[in-house]
């Protein structure tokens, strides 16, 4: 009952799988640590990771740093940053604390970024895996659906979907996820098409594994590195879409978000430009941190690309 998989790059033949009927597609521990070390050696990636952790900490500690509703009026309006030490980043046109808004706004951005990415991962992986694994008419149909969604301007689809119900963080996450899965589907389909021909899949088939098991237990773990890299990009782009949405006033009216702060700051752009500049800076830094981490993950998980940059 030994079925080694020599063509599978993530499957080390030294792992003792001789007494088990199933494969363990999980890479051996030393491989992972090499990837981890490659990631840790990348200064840009580490800077991104630290920045991301700082934003995460800000989101978690928001209720303790600035207790109370950040949408409450607390001081005179249009207080410039630095004018009053109690409000280090000033106040907006309604006398709301800008610093509290930025700290609380990180919650909405991260929440929507993560959950939208999960939604698009679920749909995209399923669609891509089915299309790539089965090929033929299933592939034709799914590729047509994917193309249809890609012809559709993503942002307008999100706007239409959000208009269906009351704008809330959950609905916005769902809408962004539903509108942006084709990226994942294309990627997973390409991975599955190349994996389908490899020996370990043939071996799994010859053992009589079900399609479901081959897709999820055998092939998916092998497609995981590229999915992980794309996930960080998906989170970043979901945050950008959410910011544009709430910038235009389609966001959740009960939650403060960086996009809505920029949108409100736009009304007084000539007199108080800091109202648009400050939340925008927080937004750029957060998205930048995700992209830095994504690039470093890409270099660490795809060694072929890493050597190219050296």
């Amino acid at each position: 009952m030994t079925h080694s998989a020599p063509d599978n790059p993530r499957h080390n033949t030294m792992t003792p799988d001789s007494n088990s009927a199933t494969f363990s597609p999980r890479p051996p521990a030393f491989r992972l640590s090499a990837q981890l070390r490659a990631f840790l050696r990348n200064p840009a990636g580490m800077a991104g990771l630290l920045l991301l952790l700082a934003v995460l900490l800000m989101a978690l500690l928001a209720p303790f740093i600035y207790p109370g509703d950040p949408l409450d009026m607390v001081a005179q309006p249009f207080l410039w940053p630095g004018a009053n030490p109690e409000f280090p980043l000033g106040t907006d046109s309604l006398g709301r604390n800008v610093a509290a808004g930025i700290v609380h706004g990180s919650q909405v951005s991260l929440q929507i970024g993560l959950s939208a990415a999960v939604v698009s991962l679920l749909i995209g992986t399923l669609m891509g895996a089915l299309a790539g694994y089965f090929g033929g008419i299933v592939d034709d149909v799914l590729v047509h659906i994917t193309e249809m969604f890609q012809t559709f301007p993503t942002f307008l689809l999100v706007v239409v979907l959000v208009a269906i119900g009351q704008p809330s963080v959950t609905l916005i996450s769902l809408a962004i996820g539903v509108a942006s899965w084709p990226t994942i589907a294309r990627l997973v389909r390409a991975e599955f098409r190349s994996l389908r021909e490899s020996d370990f899949v043939l071996a799994a088939r010859s053992q009589g594994f079900s399609n479901v098991r081959i897709i999820f237990q055998e092939m998916l773990p092998n497609a995981l590195p590229s999915i992980i890299v794309t996930t960080s990009v998906m989170v970043a782009s979901a945050i950008l879409i959410e910011s544009a949405l709430s910038f235009l006033g389609f966001g959740d009216p009960n939650r403060v978000s960086w996009g809505s702060m920029i949108g409100e700051g736009r009304e007084s752009l000539r007199t108080a430009w800091y109202l648009a500049a400050l939340p925008g800076t927080a937004l750029v830094l957060t998205v930048l941190s995700l992209n830095l981490v994504g690039d470093a993950l890409n270099d660490a998980l795809n060694p072929r690309l890493r050597s190219r940059d050296a």
Binding site: H144, M148, T154, F155, F247, W273, L290, D309
Partner: protein, 328 residues
């Protein structure tokens, strides 16, 4: 394969493949829009404030909004077959006229920003690839990543503060100076002055995409055998970079450019709102808010056609760049 045959194949594939896609979008969106609460008459009545139930029912009957959904779809598709996009209750005008009147300004914005993004992006990518790993590459890579992480509307707002409010070099909105009856050269200059900031805002993200892609593709191709052969022939490094490596790198770039064309209208919607640019994207957003679904469908259909057209052009361009690629 001669040129006529090649173009014939592209047209046939488009008809067989892309048109059903566009039709699918229309039908999907049509049903999706039925889920959106309220219709155009509700919004009109809410704005006028003096509508009675009888006038609202009359308006609905006039625009056919009282009919069953399937019948409405049937009528819409029937109109579509006659190149009629329906009527807008909101603007009280045929949708075709509305869309056509907004098309040139959006097209100008899209083509200018894509042109700017491709030229600047590819130039940055070439420089980054040529100095890969050295400081010009690191600096430009960071800049590209920063552009990639910055929402275009925010770049637009910041540029507006600097160039329009503080320096007063450029106009802050619209696509022409109101009341100035300009003609010819002066008109073009005026329009371009208005376009600078929106184009900057819309192209920033794509500059980053093309720059990163060019760098990666060129580094990948630079290791191939034919490049070594070209060097061995004694060609100058500049010629090898531009004529051999860049030409091959243009293939993935054109693919991605075609892929992003569909998203361009979504980005344009936000930028057009920031700069009060009278374009299709803003029209689509206003249509969603006014529940004027015929207008929204019209804009989406037109944008689908633009995407299809862009992809046909990409196909032809690729088979010209690399004659081995057969037009599918």
């Amino acid at each position: 394969m001669n040129r006529v045959e090649r173009i014939g194949r592209v047209v046939r594939r488009t008809l067989l493949h892309a048109l059903p896609t566009a039709l699918g979008i229309v039908i999907l969106v049509f049903f999706l829009l039925q889920l959106v609460p309220g219709d155009a008459v509700d919004v009109l009545a809410g704005e006028s404030g003096s509508a009675t139930a009888a006038t609202m029912a009359h308006l609905r009957a006039q625009f056919g909004l009282d009919q069953p959904i399937v019948l409405q779809l049937y009528h819409y598709l029937g109109n579509l077959a006659h190149f009629n996009l329906g009527f807008s209750p909101r603007y009280n005008a045929p949708v075709m006229d509305l869309v056509i009147s907004r098309l040139p300004s959006t097209l100008l914005l899209m083509l200018l920003s894509q042109g700017v993004a491709i030229v600047i992006g590819i130039s940055l990518g070439v420089v980054m690839a040529a100095w890969a790993g050295k400081w010009p590459d690191r600096l430009l890579s960071l800049l590209a990543l920063l552009l990639y992480s910055t929402p275009g509307f925010w770049i637009g707002l910041m540029a507006l503060i600097l160039f329009s409010v503080h320096l007063d070099w450029l106009p802050s909105g619209g696509n022409a100076t109101i009341g100035a009856e300009l003609a010819g050269w002066a008109n073009l200059k005026d329009m371009l002055r208005h376009a600078v900031l929106p184009v900057l805002a819309l192209s920033s993200f794509f500059i980053a995409i093309y720059a990163r892609l060019t760098r990666a593709a060129m580094l990948e191709i630079a290791r191939q055998d034919f490049v070594r052969t070209a060097h061995a022939k004694g060609l100058s490094p500049l010629v090898v970079t531009l004529r051999h490596i860049l030409r091959c790198a243009l293939l993935p770039i054109t693919t991605v450019a075609g892929m992003h064309f569909g998203n361009l209208l979504g980005g344009a919607a936000v930028i057009e709102t920031v700069f009060s640019w009278p374009g299709l994207g803003r029209l689509a957003l206003e249509a969603v808010m006014a529940r004027d679904f015929n207008v929204l469908l019209g804009v989406l259909l037109l944008s689908a056609f633009l995407v299809i057209l862009a992809n046909v052009l990409v196909d032809l361009l690729q088979s010209w760049l690399d004659p081995r690629i057969k037009v599918r």
